[in-house]
């Protein structure tokens, strides 16, 4: 049985739902959005007056939706789901990001690096925990060839989030897919500097035209305990 057959308000319900599915919620008044929700709790009742009353009784739409409802019945259950939605959603998003961003193999780094690099004037620093999961992604000015300044920036970024490992992502905007001589020297110098700290420089990845290479894959550039 369709909505229209079930209730005299079915046509209105269908129109409202179609409008929402086609154009989104931007043009909806608060009470119309609430009506859409209440349709699910009350299949055969005109919910327009209820929507207005609920907003008024709660002193605002935000309080009604975001604060845990003490109402009983189906309306109360729907409102409780609304109140629980934002925390549940954010918790899941955090888990998704944590789960997706583990860099315990060089190929994962090489897949990921081109998605975050771009501007050759900037360096991206992946700050990783002891298990190589991403703690933070920091952007700094590209001063890679000045290894003392670069070390300072990267070490600060790692310290801010107590990272155990860092991976530096640099980008070439000139189409050159290889490390330059001065970058090779800087990688060696950075490795020496980091070897005196508790932070490990796990890799230096170079991105160019959508592809990436990792210093750890080149015998002359890698350290003994590469990824």
């Amino acid at each position: 049985m369709t909505d229209t057959q079930k209730s005299p308000h079915g046509g209105h319900r269908k129109r409202l739902r179609d409008r929402f599915l086609r154009h989104g919620s931007r043009e909806f008044y608060d009470h119309e959005l609430l009506e859409l929700l209440l349709f699910y709790a009350h299949k055969r009742v005109d919910v327009n007056p209820t929507a207005h009353k609920l907003i008024e009784a709660s002193n605002g739409f935000d309080k009604l939706i975001l604060e845990d409802s003490e109402r009983t019945g189906k309306t109360g259950e729907l409102l409780r789901l609304c109140a629980a939605f934002a925390p549940t959603y954010f918790e899941d998003k955090c888990d998704c990001i944590r789960g997706m961003r583990n860099f315990n193999s060089p190929s994962l780094v090489l897949q990921y690096a081109p998605t975050v690099c771009g501007d050759p004037n900037l360096l991206r620093i992946l700050c990783l925990d002891a298990k190589m999961s991403l703690k933070n992604l920091v952007t700094v000015q590209n001063n890679f060839e000045d290894s003392a300044a670069c070390f300072h920036d990267v070490f600060l970024a790692a310290g801010t989030c107590a990272a155990a490992h860092v991976i530096i992502i640099l980008s070439h905007g000139d189409g050159n897919p290889s490390y330059t001589r001065s970058e090779i020297l800087a990688i060696g110098d950075l490795r020496t500097r980091f070897s005196h700290t508790s932070v490990r420089l796990a890799d230096v990845v170079l991105c160019c035209d959508g592809s990436a290479i990792a210093a750890s894959r080149y015998p002359l550039l890698s350290e003994e305990d590469t990824l």
Binding site: D3, L21, L81, D92, T139
Partner: protein, 207 residues
């Protein structure tokens, strides 16, 4: 890592129970999308491709983030000034669980008083020049002297991409010609918020 914890799958079942859906429907959604947030970010037409899903059920799933986004935006209203820290909360609320990219421009007068906020849809390379013309025309029409350029990175990190930088260069050039200042470039990714103006300031202070 199990993204679909018992709490999250129970939430989905309780919600879909309002459409008389059985456990199999929420299980199918979980299998198809793999995470709670992906289900609620999916467009209705994609949800309807899952076995057992109907238009009524897809609308309910799409409705929940929309209704919470509206409530969050009302809880964190647009402040009166562009330098008000409450602007971060307002923008984060506006972009809550939004899976499509959206550009928002906040127009202000010389003193920093917010005159208007407009949304301009996505920021793809083929739409950016049209959007910039439209933004420039609005700024001139309402007498704005400053603007904030804000957009989201759905499912990503709050750092500027190469496309963002290219678009920003274009808006900077257009604004310079019109005597308008770009006050800030803000990127929102989920509940993370990055102000490029503040980042540059912090970096300068660190040196």
């Amino acid at each position: 890592m199990n993204l679909l914890t018992k709490e999250r799958t129970d939430f989905l079942r309780r919600l879909l129970a309002f459409t008389s859906a059985d456990k199999a429907v929420s299980d199918n959604l979980c299998t198809s999308f793999g995470s709670f947030s992906s289900i609620f970010e999916a467009p209705p037409e994609k949800l309807m491709r899952v076995a057992g899903m109907t238009e009524e059920r897809a609308a309910l799933i799409a409705l929940l983030p929309a209704i919470v986004r509206r409530a969050l935006t009302e809880r964190h209203p647009l402040p009166k000034r562009i330098d008000d820290p409450a602007l971060a909360d307002h923008l984060t609320a506006r972009y809550f669980a939004l899976s499509e990219e959206m550009l928002t421009v906040i127009f202000a007068d010389k003193s920093g008083k917010i005159l208007d906020l407009r949304e301009y849809g996505d920021l793809h390379s083929d739409t950016v020049s049209t959007r910039i013309s439209s933004i420039a025309e609005t700024a001139v029409a309402i007498g704005a002297n400053q603007l904030i350029w804000a957009h989201n990175h759905p499912g990503g990190f709050a750092i500027p991409s190469a496309n963002d930088n290219a678009a920003l260069s274009m808006i900077l050039a257009a604004c310079r010609d019109l005597g308008i200042t770009v006050y800030d470039h803000i990127i929102i990714a989920d509940d993370d918020y990055v102000s490029i103006k503040e980042s540059v300031k912090e970096r300068t202070n660190e040196r």
